[in-house]
């Protein structure tokens, strides 16, 4: 990182100290792990964005980040197991066959999505080690349409998998397609996710489907018990005024106000954490850029 990269503001050592304390509290690494790590760590990027904010904007980011959840891919196996543990054993035992499918919108079939990537890990690494699934040989497909091959299935357990459920829009799209094209009346269907926003989980249940998850998260400002919501909303709007954000993504997709980063940061998360450009075209060094 060279000095010319720094945009705008100045940072006092006290702010860096406060950020270090927050990182330690959250269990996040401050220093690069090894020589192969990229030059700018998440800590460095946080400092860069804090340098670009005024005092009240910084204060909001500090308070929101206290509740930020990071689930890097090395943690997925444990998180997946936790979610699968929520499926009643009686349903697993009585199932004829078990199928794992990605929870993706029909328009995204065939694309590389996080729901397809951890499906392999689930099938190959997690389920074979779980006593709950002993004697079962689940099958997985990256294209839900492949379930049509098994039209003679009896009492199948269908697991629609995704690492994150936000508003539930993607889930409802996928489950609507299942209802229309793939359903058999004796199927037991579960949505399996690692992290769900409360609104999305409720949408799935209201649609008549079960959902199991490891963690549930709320909206960062609207559901906060500690923030002055009106003030926080005004300040966040002021921050987002500086950023280049597509229409419909202010405060996260459909104002989800999520505070989470998974293998990839969902666009439900506040853009301050993942946007990469400011409106003036200069770089915004977001710590959880969507790659």
């Amino acid at each position: 990182m060279i000095v010319e990269d720094i945009e705008g503001g100045l940072l006092h050592p006290s702010v860096i100290k406060r950020l270090r304390k927050l990182f330690k509290k959250l269990g996040w690494r401050v220093n690069p792990e090894d020589e192969f790590e990229e030059d700018d760590t998440a800590f460095d990027k946080f400092c860069l964005i804090l340098a670009d904010l005024d005092n009240e904007e910084r204060e909001l980011i500090f308070q929101l980040t206290e509740n930020f959840l990071v689930c890097p891919s090395p943690q997925y196996r444990l998180l997946v197991k936790s979610a699968l543990d929520e499926i009643p054993q009686s349903i697993i035992d009585s199932s004829g066959e078990i199928f794992l499918l990605p929870l993706i919108a029909t328009k995204d079939v065939g694309k590389a999505k996080s729901s397809t990537s951890w499906l392999y890990s689930c099938l190959a690494e997690v389920i074979p080690r779980m006593p709950a699934f002993k004697g079962k040989r689940p099958r997985g497909y990256t294209d839900p349409d492949k379930l049509k091959i098994h039209n003679h299935r009896k009492q199948a357990l269908i697991l629609f998998c995704d690492d994150f459920v936000g508003t539930g829009d993607t889930a409802i799209d996928a489950l609507t397609y299942y209802n229309k094209e793939l359903k058999k009346n004796d199927d037991e269907v579960f949505v399996v996710t690692l992290v769900a926003q409360e609104k999305g989980a409720e949408a799935i249940m209201d649609f008549g489907f079960n959902i199991v998850f490891t963690k549930i998260i709320n909206k960062g400002i609207t559901d906060s018990n500690t923030l002055d919501k009106q003030k926080a909303t005004e300040v966040m709007k002021k921050i987002e005024e500086k950023l280049k954000i597509k229409t419909g993504f202010n405060f996260g997709y459909k104002e989800s106000e999520a505070l989470v980063s998974m293998m990839r940061t969902p666009n439900n998360t506040f853009p301050v954490y993942w946007a990469n450009k400011k409106k003036d075209g200069t770089r915004w060094a977001s710590p959880f850029e969507r790659t």
Binding site: M1, L10, L11, I16, K17, D39, D44
Partner: protein
């Protein structure tokens, strides 16, 4: 961690300044964070109501002249611009900075 970096950090904290001078020396924010931790461990600084302050020990350290460790006559307010130091040359050698360096110095002087 360089002793001169610690002294510059102490000067910045004392003056209520920002960390730009440390960044100009090529330190990253994560390294500055480690420097702050080191200064705390050596009891040069402490945190009071979310603000970093120099201790008496920190004040003495800030005013030391390196490498002699004697107290400086200027009170320790000025730090050498370490980032501009060059290797000592023989009396018959001539120092010619790179054009990149010259341009950088010209930019800074405007």
């Amino acid at each position: 961690m360089s002793k001169t970096n610690i002294i510059l950090l102490l000067q910045l904290i004392y003056a209520g300044g920002d960390v730009n001078s440390l960044l100009q020396r090529g330190l990253q924010f994560s390294q500055i964070a480690a420097l702050i931790t080191q200064a705390e461990e050596k009891k040069y600084i402490l945190e009071k109501e979310n603000e970093l302050k120099l201790t008496d020990l920190g004040l003495i350290e800030m005013r030391k002249e390196l490498p002699s460790n004697k107290i400086r006559k200027d009170g320790g307010w000025i730090s050498p611009l370490d980032e501009y130091r060059v290797e000592k040359l023989d009396v018959y050698e001539v120092y010619l900075p790179s054009s990149k360096k010259v341009l950088s110095l010209l930019r800074k002087s405007h």
